[in-house]
């Protein structure tokens, strides 16, 4: 409910006011002491983070949280989730209510600097698009002059929308509603001509919420760059490294062909790159202050990036596209582990 959301925002602000120690010590140390990683996720976005019918959180963002659990505790289950709205997410991370924000959040310059956050990398390259009902017979976003547009507040989406229409000398009427449920209700009821969000979100909404998915078309224009990535607070470089390399380990594993199924087998491989990865050679775990088998545990318990994508996003019909590995024509690229 909206009231609860506001109350929660208020409480988080209060937390920022009363948290006595600005440096709670290294985040990893505090997490080890309490026995779990507190992960800020979306309140419910299919494919990214959503509880399944058993109440287990599932999604590509959730998998990243689990990977950090596996790296830190050798147990992907040692994660607790805090569902956050778009408006609560940054304050929750700033105030220390969550250790990491893994919530389809676009990496922008403002957020990376003046919000006091550090983005560790990109786990999904997205872009903003538009969905309209088929019977409108719209072929291009350039034909949307005068349209009523349903959009969620407090996101880069709202700003890109205004930028795009300004740049193309068009006008629109925003209908701004915070809750995803309510904004989709408004669009599907016909209150708006257009629903805009990131392309992955449009696919998810069309697949899971439309009475008849074929009645809605996603327009070809992609009007923004939306690189989603996990973020941590400024001021704890060790934690920043752990989260960053947990993400890279998942991408690197896919490149090396290591999966949750074959890693046990592959660990015996003579390939030095794989030997470094699984911790048989070198001291890469120690450099992060982690167990020597940190990367092995991530792949064993969570899987590589490709497995996570197949499990969470492919069922929604989201093409792999630019999220393929760099050597298969995509943008996913992990720096070498050496």
């Amino acid at each position: 409910m909206m009231v609860n959301a506001s109350l929660r925002l208020g409480l988080i602000v209060l937390a920022l006011l009363v948290t006595a120690n600005a440096h709670a010590g290294p985040t990893a140390g505090a997490a080890l002491k309490k026995g779990f990683v507190q992960c800020g996720v979306n309140t419910g976005l299919a494919g990214f983070s959503q509880p399944d019918s058993n109440g287990e959180w599932r999604g590509i963002d959730v998998d990243l949280c689990r990977a950090i659990g596996a790296a830190l505790f050798s147990d992907a289950k040692k994660v607790r989730y805090t569902p956050l709205t778009a408006q609560q997410r940054f304050t929750a991370l700033q105030s220390g209510e969550v250790d990491i924000l893994s919530r389809n959040t676009t990496w922008t310059m403002t957020r990376d600097t003046s919000l006091g956050l550090n983005f560790v990398g990109v786990n999904f390259y997205d872009g903003q698009g538009f969905m309209v009902t088929k019977k409108r017979n719209v072929k291009s976003a350039k034909q949307l002059d005068g349209a009523a547009v349903c959009v969620q507040p407090g996101t880069t989406t709202e700003l890109n929308l205004a930028d795009y229409f300004r740049a193309n000398n068009m006008k629109f009427k925003p209908v701004v509603i915070e809750k995803l449920e309510e904004v989709l209700n408004a669009y599907f009821a016909g209150r708006c001509d257009v629903y805009t969000t990131d392309i992955s979100g449009l696919y998810a909404a069309r697949a899971s919420r439309a009475a008849n998915p074929t009645d809605h078309v996603i327009l070809p224009e992609i009007v923004s760059k939306e690189p989603f990535g996990p973020a941590v607070r400024h001021g704890d470089d060790q934690w920043f490294d752990i989260v960053k390399w947990s993400l890279f380990a998942m991408i690197e594993a896919e490149e090396l062909g290591l999966t949750s199924k074959n890693i046990e087998q592959q660990a015996k491989s003579a390939n030095p790159v794989i030997q470094r990865f699984v911790g048989a050679k070198g001291e890469f775990g120690k450099m992060l202050g982690l167990d020597i088998r940190w990367a092995y545990n991530i792949v064993k318990q969570v899987g590589n990036y490709g497995e996570s994508y197949e499990r969470n996003l492919s069922p929604l019909g989201v093409e792999r596209g630019v999220n393929r590995l760099w050597n298969r024509g995509g943008l996913m690229y992990a720096p070498p582990m050496r």
Binding site: M2, L16, G116, G154, E158, V175, R191
Partner: protein, 346 residues
Amino acid sequence: MTYRSRLDLTAQLLANKNMTFLHRRHPRAIIYQGLLAAAVGLTAWYFISNAVENLLARHIASGFGFLTREAGFEIGETTFLSYNAGDTYLNALAVGLLNTLHVATLSIVFSTLLGVSIGLARLSHNWLLAKLAAGYVEVIRNAPLIVQLFFWYAVITESFPAPGEALSPFPGVFLSNRGLAFPVIAAGTPLKLDYPVLSGFNFSGGALLSPEFAALLLGLSLYTAAFIAEIVRAGILAVDRGQFEAAYSLGLNQRQVMRCVILPQALRVIVPPISSQYLNCTKNSSLAVAIGYPDLVSIANTSINQTGQAIEGIAIIMLVYLTISLAISGFMNWFNRRFALRGIKP
């Protein structure tokens, strides 16, 4: 001890020069108040210094400098101020404030008119009318306002047709799920009407009452009216039965009895609690954010999220609501002193 001698003792004690400083009343009061003020001040200092320290440590920008930066987002309803995405956060917040005042003022007027009628109807000798009014109060007063807002919003957006098939009860007036489009008098000479026309996706020209505004106005007015109705009923019942009888026996008719005898007395009971309802109504308008009406809270929330400056944003919201609330209660106190306590001259 007799009463007399006790008085003497008190007088003696008061005059006693040996009584310590702390035992005297006036200095003690000053000390207590000083301690209280110090406690409040220390607590405030604790919160503020903590927040400042935390913000600095996390390199989070603070201060109100963001108000002059470009907001970059559009607002759906800008009835009183022209605004576009290129304007500043300050402009955006001003639009939000005017939208809040707009919906709150109209809701207060409508809920008062409706509430007084329903309160009187509940006291009516007409059985059906009284029961209908009672039913209204019980149903509306006992359902959460936010549920009612969702209800009205769904009714409007789901039950009216798309703009292409808009209902047109009168020429130039169109009712659709985009709201009620109606003609307005265009500026310039000679005066003529500016009619809404369907162009592209939506109506242009004329004026538009949006579904969000309509749902909020309807929900707030109906909800607040139920409470006002009960206050009015209680106020009238609080006037002694003898006053009615005395007034009738003087030969006044029913209208005169109400206007000259009962209402002036009832108003004394009615006005203070009604002031609270006006405050509630204004504050409840912040539920607008749930159904997409761009009120102050909605705009401030968006600004908080774009800038990350939650403390400043919440401070602005609190300051604005405090100002509005104090203004309303100031006006109502004046009204109470000026009219309710003296009685309205017939």
